[in-house]
Amino acid sequence: MRKIRVLAAKPGLDGHDRGVKVIAAALRDAGMEVIYTGLRQTPEQIVATAIQEDVDVIALSILSGAHDYLFPEVMKLVKEKGLDDEVLVLGGGVIPESDVAAMKEAGVADIFGPGTSTHQIVEYIQQNVKQRA
């Protein structure tokens, strides 16, 4: 079985990448392959990279409050490209509880806020990653 491939992505202009880098390290330690986009990615760039790298998971991280615009934008493109059946999209960062429902409605599988342990995320991915044909 191939390793789970994860795209760790920073959409928008937010430069705080401590969290995404810590999670990238933890996912690697858990045996996954992690590709990191670097900062300031547009939704178009993120989805293009996801296709190019043939990933199973897109893990988005935002602390600037722009998730309300950028997460749905990413999901719109994920659906347009027909990736929604194959790719699990997760969100993390400073995301108010009251926004979580809207993010899930847009198609983000789950939201991991501050204080989440990396084990929780590893387990979540292992259990929810979509089976490839």
Binding site: G12, L13, D14, G15, H16, D17, R18, K21, V22, A24, A25, A26, V34, Y36, G38, L39, R40, T42, S64, G65, A66, D68, Y69, L70, E73, V94, P96, E97, S98, G113, P114, G115, S117, T118, H119
Partner: protein, 551 residues
């Protein structure tokens, strides 16, 4: 012993003179029990070794503080970092904070502003007004400081890559109020090196960025003499996950790179160094934090004196702003954050800070509400006016543990600086990804320590409870972007566009050559050229920075 006595007598004479000119906050300081509190406490027999290592407050190597009487004379500047949505809304918050007794403004800009994009730029979608105020032109800046007399407040602006442009706008607003640049007081962060390693709001590559910074040093030394031209920031290095030792080391190494660049540009060290200031983080390891500030002061004083040959005492001093650690705040049980912030703020005060920003309890969730920001400000006032720690200078000095920690942090930081020296300095170390990797590793280690339970975070990995509702949080209306876009369209229709083009062309020529860019920034903003237009002109000449991959 006799030598030290002479030093002490000279110091006392200096203090007497100072106090005669500017009386302390009280004639006599006493504890609640009525016991007298002296200005300064010393070991029983301080000798030469003591003088070399610690010295007297206000004197080299400044271990015990940069003022001879510290907070007995005047408390630190109490600032609250604020800014959101539009200039008009932020202006309301500033005027509220000034009414509540805040003594300095601290402006938060939104990300498009920090990265030099106007509010109508495609990449600004979803970000306008979110983490700070949106400023696209001098028009916004005029609204931001409406009815705030710039000769009466000190303003700190958290802006880096486009710092010179925002400073030019501030100067232009001052001119409209009839306040000359020589009367302006405040700070621009203007520290690009930590952006590459820790915070990510860079625009240009390191070399042109360093040029803009030295242009600002040179311009302000002549024109805006009371302005702090840079705030060399360890804060974000720590937020990115560094240890306290790394925070001191990487911050001072960045500082050394700025000093070197300015001297290579032909500036005299004692002309610009007095306007360098610093910015540190106050994390949760209380006593280590106190020691950290003392170590940073001593190490920088020695570096400036021995390496760069500075002689002006003001060139040797670390004067610093502190912010309590945003990364230490928990979304779980958010009211606990009030307590965390209080201890962190106390450590900054015991470490001798000149300026302090206390975080609000709800910042792990969203921008602070008015209630949360008021409690954060009151926390500083309680420390300043009630706790009594401001009655004597450097009260923890002489604690075996504090002095040992101070020595250890200094040694650890020196070792890092030696390594960075070997690599050719901070610019090279960042370009090679060394600093980023060191910070990342420390961040991952810290996370692992929390997850193993080795390090306790109350309410998160111990004493956790069912979720508490955070109550009200502040939200920025997405319509702010549309309003800002309309305002920009109106501005572009009304201004003299031929003049704008001409100023931008002159800026471009200056950027291609070697002229100081600050006068060009000023004439551009005064013609109402936008921040985005000015930064695009510079992008055209300097290019944009591409970060090395470090994971």
């Amino acid at each position: 012993m006799s030598d030290f006595n002479q030093q002490l007598m000279a110091w006392q004479a200096k203090v007497d003179k100072l106090v005669a000119k500017r009386p302390e906050r009280k004639d006599q300081f006493t504890t609640i029990s009525g016991l007298p509190v002296e200005r300064l406490y010393l070991p029983q027999e301080p000798g030469e070794a003591y003088a070399d290592k610690l010295g007297l407050p206000g004197e080299y190597p400044y271990t015990r503080g940069v003022q001879p009487n510290m907070y007995r004379g005047r408390l630190w500047t109490m600032r609250q970092y604020a800014g959101f949505a539009t200039a008009a809304e932020s202006n309301q918050r500033y005027r509220y904070l000034l009414d509540q007794g805040t003594t300095g403004l601290s402006v938060a800009f939104d990300l498009p502003t920090q990265i030099g994009y106007d509010a109508d730029h495609k990449l600004a979608q979803g970000e306008v007004g979110k983490v700070g105020v949106s400023i696209s032109s001098l028009k916004d800046m005029e609204l931001l400081f409406d009815q705030i007399p710039l000769d009466k407040v000190s303003t700190s602006m958290t802006i880096n890559a486009p710092a010179g442009i925002l400073l030019a706008m501030y100067i232009a607003v001052g001119a409209k109020q009839g306040v000359g640049p020589d009367q302006l007081r405040g700070t621009i962060q203007n520290d690009i090196l930590k952006e590459y390693s820790s915070r990510g709001t860079y625009i240009f590559p390191p070399k042109p960025s360093m040029r803009i910074i030295t242009n600002i040093f040179a311009y302000c030394a002549e024109e805006v003499p009371s302005w702090n031209t840079i705030s060399i920031s360890g804060y974000h290095i720590r937020e990115a996950g560094s240890t306290a030792v790394q925070e001191v080391a990487f911050t001072l190494a960045n500082g050394m790179a700025y000093v070197k660049a300015a001297m290579e540009a032909g500036l005299d060290v004692d002309q610009f160094a007095p306007r360098l200031s610093f910015f540190f983080n106050a994390h949760s390891e209380f006593l280590e934090e106190v020691a950290k500030y003392r170590a940073a002061r001593r190490l920088w004083a020695r570096i400036m004196k021995e390496r760069f040959g500075a002689t002006n005492p003001k060139s040797l001093m670390v004067r610093f702003h502190t912010q309590t650690a945003g990364c230490s705040l928990t979304a779980q049980q958010p009211k606990n954050n009030i307590v965390r912030v209080a201890f962190q703020a106390m450590s900054a005060v015991l470490g001798g800070t000149q300026s302090l920003h206390t975080n609000s309890m709800d910042e792990a969730l969203a921008l602070p509400t008015q209630e949360a920001v008021t409690i954060a400000l009151r926390t500083q006032q309680i420390i300043g006016y009630e706790s009594g720690v401001t009655s004597t200078v450097d009260p923890l000095a002489g604690s075996y543990y504090i002095e040992e920690l101070t020595d250890e942090i200094e040694k650890g930081a020196e070792a890092y600086i030696a390594k960075i020296d070997e690599m050719g300095g901070a610019v090279e170390a960042v370009e090679q990804g060394y600093v980023q990797r060191e910070i990342q590793e420390a961040a991952y280690e810290y996370q692992k320590a929390i997850e193993s339970g080795d390090r306790v975070v109350v309410g998160v990995n111990k004493f956790a409870t069912a979720k508490e509702s955070p109550g009200d949080i502040l939200r920025v209306d997405p319509k702010v972007r549309l309003e800002q876009m309309e305002a920009l369209a109106k501005l572009k229709a009304e201004r003299d566009n031929a003049a704008v083009e001409q100023k931008l062309a002159a800026l471009k020529a200056a950027a291609q050559g070697e002229d100081n860019l600050m006068p060009h920034f000023l004439s551009c903003v005064q013609s109402y050229a936008t921040l985005g237009e000015i930064c695009d002109t510079l992008r055209g000449v300097f290019g944009e920075y591409q970060a090395p991959t470090t994971i």
